[in-house]
């Protein structure tokens, strides 16, 4: 099931596009909740799809008609992807704990942060088990707005950012390997 779950990540592109738009708007002091931005874009996709399918019906030129249909299909897929991500978030509630393992640096000294769609820090509590090298990030998931990445750093080690996939957000474990100066790792 894991490969199937991972393959569903491809449906995340519309939400990523929406997040890019949110980030741009946030930079000019117009912060938008994820669900609202996605709803607006969903409505936009729906309108585009409806318009192009409707227009294509009256088009006589085959090539133009094909182009109109393609745009309509792309907009439909975009809208479906947003609806899918909403449905997925409602039916498969994301885990409130993200579990990882650190290699290459002592866990005690490591700084572990959860990042939002802009790469900013999300409020999260991290518990570490230095005996096994395992850590758990505790956070409160928000609808349609999952964390994007985990940033891990340690003294003498460059920061490593691990992009979070759908499976990891639902509890699959991940590992982070730091390459640190002077340790040969």
């Amino acid at each position: 099931m894991e490969p199937l779950k991972d393959s569903l990540d491809i449906l995340g592109w519309p939400t990523q596009a929406v997040n890019a738009l949110r980030a741009a708007l946030s930079d000019v002091n117009i912060p938008l909740p994820a669900w609202f931005a996605q709803a607006v874009v969903l409505a936009g996709f729906a309108l585009v799809a409806w318009y192009f399918f409707h227009w294509a019906r009256g088009e006589d030129k085959k090539l133009v008609r094909m182009g109109q249909l393609l745009v309509g299909i792309a907009a439909t897929i975009g809208a479906a992807a947003i609806l899918f991500s909403w449905g997925d978030g409602l039916m498969n509630q994301p885990s409130r704990q993200l579990v990882g393992a650190l290699q290459g640096a002592p866990l005690d000294a490591a700084q572990i942060d959860l990042l939002d769609y802009k790469g900013d820090l999300l409020g999260s509590a991290v518990d570490k088990d230095p005996q096994t090298g395992t850590f758990v990030i505790n956070y409160d998931p928000e609808f349609a707005d999952p964390p994007s990445a985990v940033a891990v750093s340690a003294p003498n080690c460059p920061e490593r950012r691990l992009k979070l996939h759908r499976a990891q957000l639902q509890g699959a474990r991940f590992s982070v390997i730091l390459t640190c100066a002077g340790t040969g790792s």
């Binding site: 885990s95 409130r96 704990q97 579990v99 518990d127 570490k128 088990d129 096994t132 395992t134 474990r173």
Partner: protein, 348 residues
């Protein structure tokens, strides 16, 4: 169709009930280095909730607790092990894929050594002994006056032994102390006797580990070290514990040292107050303490001892001797100490 729906609903309800009530066993061991640590508090924390105390580690450092399966949106149960004098240790118990139960830790939970106790060097060796058991490892503080008897956790055998062992190991210092006090106050002609303490150590010792007990006793400047075991049995409809204790007096005078004393007692296993249980223990506990104290006083006498001090010790031994019959196991030792005191009296 209706009966079919009813059956399906009943099956679903049963499945749901089974899932909700299924308990998950979690077992493990608490250690400090190679030493098992008894009486460490075992608690669990789910997410940001308050810790839930689940019990304590046994005399062998092992613990077994029961927890609920983890909710669907939680992946880890936090296990928090605390022991006074040590930093709490957090272990993350990951969720098993099928059952939703947290997995038991594969390795023993390793306690940190904690803050170095008084009298230890930066390298960790104690100034009193060099390499050897540290106070931290023993979970006990070195006696400053040498008037403390240390008890290693007893191992109890028989059905329901875990609860009985926990209760006994908790109450035994008080029980023994009451027994000692009762004997001391029965001694004729002794007006004052030092206040002896009875404390526990966390290092399990068997009665056979004489050398180890001596090492522990010297590290802690102990008056004595007690190790033992017990067995639960029925006696006239009640459960009692047959205890076998080995009491090693630590002080030595010149080439003379006390010999290990085996003491057998039978006490109730019920949760009675320690002073009540002490009434059922043998007087020999008190006799051994008095003998150990006399040896300690002998050893601390200066090269030219004060005759008054010798007189006090002689009076103590005479009082002790009066409590003994010809078959008393300590009679020979008391007579030897009396002979040593006599030599000091008549010496140059």
């Amino acid at each position: 169709m209706r009966p079919l729906w009813a059956v399906a609903a009943a099956v679903l309800l049963l499945l749901a009930a089974g899932r909700a009530s299924a308990a998950c066993p979690v077992t493990g061991e608490v250690k400090l280095g190679d030493l098992p640590i008894a009486d460490a508090d075992i608690a669990t924390v789910l997410g940001g909730a308050d810790p839930v105390s689940r019990g304590h580690s046994g005399a062998d450092g092992r613990f077994a607790i029961t927890v609920d399966p983890l909710p669907r949106d939680m992946q880890v149960l936090k296990l928090v092990v605390t022991k006074p004098g040590h930093a709490p240790v957090l272990r993350l118990l990951l969720k098993a894929a099928g059952s939703g139960c947290p997995l038991s830790p594969q390795e023993p939970v390793a306690l940190d050594p904690g803050l170095p106790p008084a009298g230890t060097t930066a390298s960790g060796g104690t100034t009193a002994t060099g390499a050897g058991d540290t106070e931290t490892k023993l979970c006990a503080k070195r006696s400053s006056l040498g008037l403390t008897v240390f008890i290693a956790p007893y191992r109890i055998y028989g059905g329901g032994a875990d609860q009985a062992a926990e209760r006994l190991n908790r109450d035994l210092p008080e029980i023994v102390h009451h027994r000692i006090l009762a004997f001391e106050s029965s001694l004729a002609g002794v007006t004052s006797f030092p206040d002896v303490s009875v404390e526990t150590i966390c290092l399990p010792l068997t009665a056979a580990q004489g050398e180890r007990a001596q090492e522990v006793g010297h590290n802690l400047n102990a008056l004595g070290v007690i190790a033992g075991e017990g067995e639960l049995r029925d006696s006239q409809g009640k459960t009692v514990i047959d205890l076998v204790s080995v009491f090693r007096a630590m002080p030595a005078y010149k080439s003379y040292a006390g010999v290990p004393l085996s003491i057998e007692d039978t006490i109730p296993s019920d949760s009675l107050r320690p002073s009540r249980i002490a009434e059922q223990m043998r007087d020999i506990w008190g006799k051994q303490i008095v003998l150990a104290y006399a040896l300690q006083q002998l050893a601390s006498l200066p090269a030219t001892p004060d005759q008054a001090e010798i007189g006090k010790l002689t009076a103590l031994m005479v009082s002790l001797r009066k409590t003994m019959t010809a078959d008393d196991p300590l009679l020979g030792q008391v007579e030897q100490v009396q002979a040593l005191l006599s030599d000091l009296k008549t010496g140059p």
